[in-house]
Symmetry: C2
Subunit: 237 residues, 2 copies
């Protein structure tokens, strides 16, 4: 991270507290990345153990969410941060909320993987979702990297990636519909694949949210609900 | 609202600012309620105008989100709130984020309504979703009411209601699957109904979130990621 962006304080303790919440977000991010990886492994391999592990480890993600939120509240109450320190704390609160929800999406994918593991099915639809999964995993990694370095350009790159995720998702949806129409007995199974694809698409959206918070922290501008073009314009401006 | 819950300040201006953000959340809540109502009307009546209106009015919901968030940040920076004032500001920030996402769900339902309006379809599946819609609308109204009065018991009631929403949603899913298997040509249309049901179910979850923030404000306890039993225990404790 570019430390010039973080104000330096006479209080070493205060500095340490700000650094700790930032580090905790990255630790939580690492856990959420692992949850997503295991969920996708379970989906792709058809082995349910890793899927079950994701479901049983979700409480750890939630615990991070509650703990980081609590520490942020204490920093606001005791340290009365302003300017970029306050933006950092608010960025951490919001990023944590999105990471927690990415954890929920990973849990959804994991549950589908457990259900699908025992089903008899064609592998063709899975190849597509494997591809979408690897795109979304890369996106989450890049979003966390943008957060770690508070890098605005990297953040914009992630928002650009999301367009590809959306196209891939639409492709999967079309193929799933065709598949179901040709073989109506496959409907319950294909619906599980659709839910997994949807969870991955939503994960992409949440990665974009995290990147918007990074832009807010660095530039002091709220770019939520604006187009990619507007975001790029704000950053240049 | 029970004003004993809000600390009184020597600064009238500060008091006014806290009251204003609370009022803005309720105004935003009223707009989101209307968006959901219009989206459901469009879905149930098969007339697309109201659906199109919801889509084009979503920017207003987003504008509230950005504006309230900005004002909360300014209050934290300038007024350095602590204790219940700080909890109020944080509760407002989080409630606004969930209201904005309920607005997104209403937009999703509205888009489906516009698509479904031109489709030839049986009304039977719509009756069920009409019922789910009216349950979710009541739930949103009750969640906003719990927020307006900062009423913990009313908040718990909403969390209890969500179980009924989940059951209703599962019923719709089962019926949709049966319908698609019996008439595979209906698949694209029924999928739109499934997406609408899903959006309504998610809206119920977000109403629960709002109620958890109300409990956090009043009791100072973070009850997210806990069961209904634990929430009830915390409140009694």
């Amino acid at each position: 991270m570019d430390h010039s962006k973080i104000q330096h304080h006479y209080s070493h303790q205060y500095n340490a507290e700000l650094e700790q919440i930032r580090t905790s977000v990255l630790t939580m991010g690492g856990l959420v990345e692992q949850q997503l990886e295991f969920a996708l492994n379970a989906l792709n391999s058809g082995e349910s153990e890793q899927g079950e592990e994701v479901v049983s480890n979700d409480y750890q993600v939630n615990a991070f969410d509650v703990d980081i939120d609590e520490r942020c509240t204490q920093i606001i109450a005791r340290r009365q941060p302003t300017a970029s320190d306050l933006r950092l704390v608010l960025t951490v609160i919001k990023t944590t909320a999105d990471l927690e929800r990415i954890g929920d999406e990973a849990k959804r994918v994991a549950k589908m993987a457990v259900r699908l593991a025992s089903a008899d099915h064609s592998r063709s639809l899975f190849l597509q979702i494997e591809h979408l999964g690897s795109l979304v995993r890369a996106m989450l990694h890049d979003a966390l990297d943008a957060f770690a370095r508070m890098d605005v350009d990297a953040a914009v790159e992630v928002v650009v990636q999301d367009q590809r995720i959306d196209r891939e998702y639409e492709n999967i949806m079309r193929n799933c519909i065709t598949y179901m129409m040709e073989d109506p007995r496959s409907i319950p199974l294909v619906l599980d694949i659709i839910w997994s694809a949807r969870a991955l698409e939503r994960t992409g959206d949440r990665c974009c949210n995290i990147c918007e918070y990074v832009i807010y922290f660095v530039k002091g501008k709220d770019v939520r609900h604006t187009s990619l073009e507007q975001i790029e314009k704000e950053i240049e401006g």
